[in-house]
């Protein structure tokens, strides 16, 4: 029986798994998480310190010892500052519309993935995206 190209395409999409469309808020959350990941200092979470011998010849007064053993992180320092100058001096969002690039090859991202919102430029890039990255990052 003759099956037209269009009909076979339609039946193919019916066979693929249910597409879950992620809402705007989750996409924003994911973008922010990705930005935090990019901002991170590489291997900052690993615990290693200078060899003890390098500092052993110094006898630290009590104030310095307190500074050296304090476990305060940067966020702690920011939180305990009374004024908001550090937070307020950040640049405002741009007036220009954000551009979208293809997540696979880097060309202009004219189309957007239905599920996760990442741009892609052509059918080939869409296939690669669906195979590798789509929805896996939300896991």
């Amino acid at each position: 029986m003759f099956v037209s190209a269009v009909a076979s395409h339609v039946s193919k999409t019916k066979r693929t798994k249910q597409r879950t469309i992620v809402d705007e808020a989750t996409r924003e959350l994911h973008v922010r998480r990705n930005l935090a990941e990019l901002e991170k200092e590489p291997s900052m979470e690993l615990r290693f310190d200078v060899a003890k011998e390098l500092l052993s010849h110094r006898s630290f007064p009590i104030t310095i010892r307190r500074i050296l053993t304090s476990k305060k992180t940067f966020v702690n320092y920011v939180d305990e500052t009374p004024d908001n100058k550090y937070q307020n001096c950040v640049s405002r969002p741009s007036k220009r519309a954000p551009r979208r690039f293809c997540g696979v090859c880097g060309y202009w991202g004219v189309y957007a993935c239905q599920n996760c919102g990442i741009g892609y430029c052509s059918k080939d890039c869409e296939t690669v995206h669906l195979d590798t990255r789509c929805m896996k990052v939300y896991a």
């Binding site: 200092e41 590489p42 405002r92 696979v104 880097g106 202009w108």
Partner: protein, 409 residues
């Protein structure tokens, strides 16, 4: 009159420490502790030069987001710096320190820094300032080719400091930063390298653990595009692509160094892995001009400059626009200055002149400026150990205020 010769100038950056005595050579030491992949070898600061295997090198910095939080690492790095400068003693009695700090450093961090400087290292006096405040003391008149008769125009400088941790736009007047105009973009060399690392790992080879190598690749291949549309189209060409660059990856086991190669055939013969880069070369630095590309709700550098200048009256803003200085590691990317001027020219009012200067050595420019600081300014603003012991942290604020008032004389 210039600074006394026993004054130590220390530009405490998150990527490198630039240190030295005035009118001397500037010493650059990587401001981190590195550990090799297997965890056996530790490299402090410039010991990294003897390292042969950079794969999966782990970093530990004293700085967190541009501010010093880990003092044990920093004290050992400062020890190494002072040793390299020829100072054998642990205590620095008889020396004064000129130290840089990031804008809006938290008071508790400032307290920690001051305590380490005075109580541990025992410097005689301390002068803190932003790197941008020191930039203004350089000989900018010859940089902008102004005739001497025009007077002290250079009292107004807009400094764009784009470094490892972030980018700041800082208007400086008479050597003091104008706080209301300081703006920050949370994009720095580290972010760009991480971004490049991510796209290379997705499209070519997995380099997620090789920050050091991707940093080298970024510095060797990236450039700022003047016309993104044109470069994107050119970058898509399959044959004879003028933007394509090949980077031969180093082979640490055999000791072969990596580098940019002109043709792939020679490297194939040597069986080196080749990384082909095209659009990645200019899309990475494009983030500095358009952070919204990656979803960041901040503006690019030219737009942020205009945001910063909104705080000032029109004629002052026009003065700043005519005296822009670009410093920091990221401004060394090829094409940065031209692109920056072009974009800013489009945003700035038509009556204002947009003029920027990119120094030959953008990384040590702030250090050089600190060395040219006039003696009166230094004496008025530096805090001695005795004064700190008597009055505490308040004395720093008082000295800064007196500098601001005195500058208008």
């Amino acid at each position: 009159m210039t600074l006394p010769s026993n004054t130590l100038i220390l530009d405490n950056g998150a990527y490198t420490i630039k240190a030295g005595f005035p009118n001397d050579e500037c010493l650059s030491i990587p401001n981190c502790l590195c550990r090799s992949k297997d965890g056996n070898r530790l490299f402090l600061g410039d010991e990294i030069s003897v390292c042969k295997d950079f794969s999966s090198l782990q970093f530990k910095r004293a700085h967190e987001k541009g501010y010093v939080t880990n003092w044990s690492t920093e004290i050992s790095l400062w020890d190494q710096t002072f040793q390299r400068l020829g100072i054998q003693d642990q205590k620095m009695n008889g020396h004064s320190l000129v130290l840089t700090e990031a804008p809006f450093t938290m008071p508790s961090i400032q307290m920690n820094t001051t305590q380490v400087v005075f109580e541990e290292f025992e410097f005689d006096s301390l002068f803190t300032g932003l790197p941008a405040e020191f930039v203004a003391w350089n000989d900018l008149r010859s940089a902008f080719k102004e005739p001497k008769e025009w007077g002290a125009y250079k009292d107004c400088v807009l400094v764009i400091d784009s470094g490892y941790s972030f980018t700041h736009i800082i208007p400086v007047m008479n050597g003091i930063a104008m706080e209301q105009g300081i703006r920050r973009i949370d994009l720095g060399g580290r972010f760009l390298t991480n971004y490049l690392k991510e796209i290379i790992s997705y499209r070519k080879f997995n380099m997620m653990k090789d920050f050091y190598l991707v940093n080298e690749i970024k510095e060797a291949t990236c450039f700022v595009s003047q016309n993104l549309k044109k470069d994107m189209e050119m970058g898509r060409r399959l044959r004879r692509n003028p933007l394509q660059m090949f980077y031969a990856l180093p082979d640490y086991s055999s000791g072969r160094m990596g580098g940019v190669i002109s043709s792939t055939s020679a490297a194939d013969a040597r069986e080196q892995q080749i990384l082909g880069l095209c659009t990645e070369r200019f899309v990475t630095p494009e983030l500095l001009f358009s952070p919204s590309d990656i979803g960041m709700h901040q503006s690019g550098i030219p737009e942020t400059v205009m945001q910063s200048l909104e705080q000032f009256p029109e004629d002052l803003a026009a003065l700043f626009l005519a005296n822009i200085v670009l410093v920091g590691g990221n401004v060394k990317l090829p094409g940065f200055r031209t692109r920056f001027e072009a974009e800013l020219r489009a945003l700035a009012p038509s009556t204002a002149q947009v003029r920027s200067y990119l120094p030959k050595d953008a990384i040590t420019f702030a250090w050089q400026g600190a060395g040219s600081m006039p003696m009166e300014f230094f004496q008025l603003g530096s805090v001695s150990r005795h004064e700190f012991a008597e009055h505490g942290m308040n004395v720093f604020r008082r000295k800064k205020m007196s500098l601001r008032l005195d500058a208008h004389k």
